[in-house]
């Protein structure tokens, strides 16, 4: 890839997904785009980018952006937020909702490990207290990632990342070389394709939004915009969960950190007043 091609990939990803991609990461960009080029029938990444430039074909542009945007994920990533969700957030919100469902959204669900982790916890909570109803929604920018997430199929390396063996045995069935999440857990999740920087109209209200390791790779402008939109869909007493090691400068006025709970944020009441 030459400098011009790299610049084009960087600018496409920024324009479409609000993501900051360092131009010096040429190797990363090339390794992500190479499979897209192959899949779409091009000889090389350069040919793929030349075709995008010449045709401005939306499907092709998105195939490239999705590949560049894909992040890492695993079951129960960082562990702490899931313990917090099960022992504090879910019971507390369920009590406040008095029998209505607590609504959870995994806002960048990638291949589904995060939302299925939450779905397993929802199932365990319902065992302990059948009154505790949790609704689960998951979305991602990438149609390809969503397809994989919905399939609920994981290979032997993915299934061993973060998933305790007892939960594997309880919630997954073995299908040839892969493991598939059981239908009862899979059916709990509603799926949608959502580009966070394109606005969050008509998606409803949520009590907890997991949006981890996404905002920190966005431009500050995109961070501010998405943070405001997230504040708009979050219940007043709801929580935003960011990555444990994530710092987001553009979170701005919309949220304030919960003291003693790294990665956990609440809406800023002052900001709500200003927006109203």
């Amino acid at each position: 890839m030459n400098a011009e091609e790299v610049a084009m990939a960087v600018s496409l990803t920024r324009a479409r997904a609000g993501l900051r991609l360092a131009p010096e990461k040429t190797y990363f960009i090339e390794s992500r785009l190479a499979p897209v080029a192959r899949r779409e029938g091009f000889e090389s990444v350069s040919d793929l980018l030349a075709a995008i430039r010449a045709r401005r074909d939306e499907a092709l542009i998105w195939a490239a952006v999705e590949a560049l945007a894909a992040g890492e994920t695993c079951f129960f990533r960082d562990r702490t937020p899931f313990v917090l969700f099960k022992t504090e957030l879910a019971p507390q919100l369920a009590a406040a909702r008095r029998g209505r469902s607590v609504r959870i959204w995994s806002a960048a669900c990638a291949t589904g490990q995060e939302i299925y982790s939450l779905a397993m916890l929802a199932d365990e909570l319902a065992m302990e207290d059948p009154e505790l109803q949790i609704e689960l929604a998951a979305s991602d920018l990438s149609g390809l990632a969503l397809e994989r997430a919905q399939s609920g199929l994981y290979d032997q390396f993915e299934i061993q990342r973060g998933l305790p063996i007892r939960r594997l045995v309880r919630y997954f069935e073995k299908v040839d070389d892969h493991w598939r999440i059981c239908p009862e857990v899979r059916r709990r999740v509603r799926w949608r394709r959502i580009n966070l920087v394109a606005g969050l109209k008509a998606i409803g209200r949520f009590d907890v939004v997991f949006c981890r390791y996404v905002l920190s790779s966005m431009t500050e402008e995109a961070q501010r915009k998405v943070a405001q939109e997230l504040a708009g869909v979050l219940a007043e007493d709801g929580f935003l969960v960011l990555g444990l090691k994530e710092s987001v400068a553009g979170l701005g006025e919309a949220f304030q950190p919960v003291v003693g709970r790294p990665g956990l944020y609440r809406r800023n009441p002052a900001f709500r007043a200003a927006a109203a």
């Binding site: 032997q156 390396f157 061993q160 990342r161 973060g162 305790p164 063996i165 007892r166 594997l168 045995v169 069935e173 073995k174």
Partner: protein, 120 residues
């Protein structure tokens, strides 16, 4: 220093596991089958055991059952590490007292995460 007994009849696997676990601060002892492992445990009970299933002389599952019946044998955290990857074997291991379970092939991250999962 925490101690871990690596039980596998493959010298290569023992070497790989040793390197991974030494990096996160374990002192390693090695055994090539369940009988050898049992002798180690009787001499000095380790904090953790990484345990293969199929071995000559005494299999991992038989070792585990005997270990859990020994005085002090409920103390070590036992992580199976085996090519047996069907739910029947996994359940059998858990019922015999295994704490976690790694399916081969594995990598360093999986071993380290599974040890953390098992409370080590």
């Amino acid at each position: 220093m925490r101690t871990c007994l690596v039980v596998d009849d493959s010298r290569v696997i023992r070497k790989v596991a040793r390197r991974i676990l030494e990096d996160v601060g374990y002192e390693i002892a090695e055994a090539a089958d369940g009988m050898e492992a049992l002798a180690w445990c009787r001499a000095a009970m380790p904090d953790a055991i990484l345990l293969d299933w199929n071995m000559p002389v005494m299999t991992g599952i038989e070792f585990l059952r005997r270990l859990r019946a020994e005085p002090g044998g409920d103390a070590p955290v036992v992580v199976f590490c085996t090519v047996e990857n069907d739910p029947v074997h996994i359940k059998e291991a858990l019922e015999a007292g295994a704490n976690e379970y790694v399916m081969k092939p594995f990598d360093g991250d999986i071993i380290v995460e599974k040890f953390a999962e098992a409370g080590l």
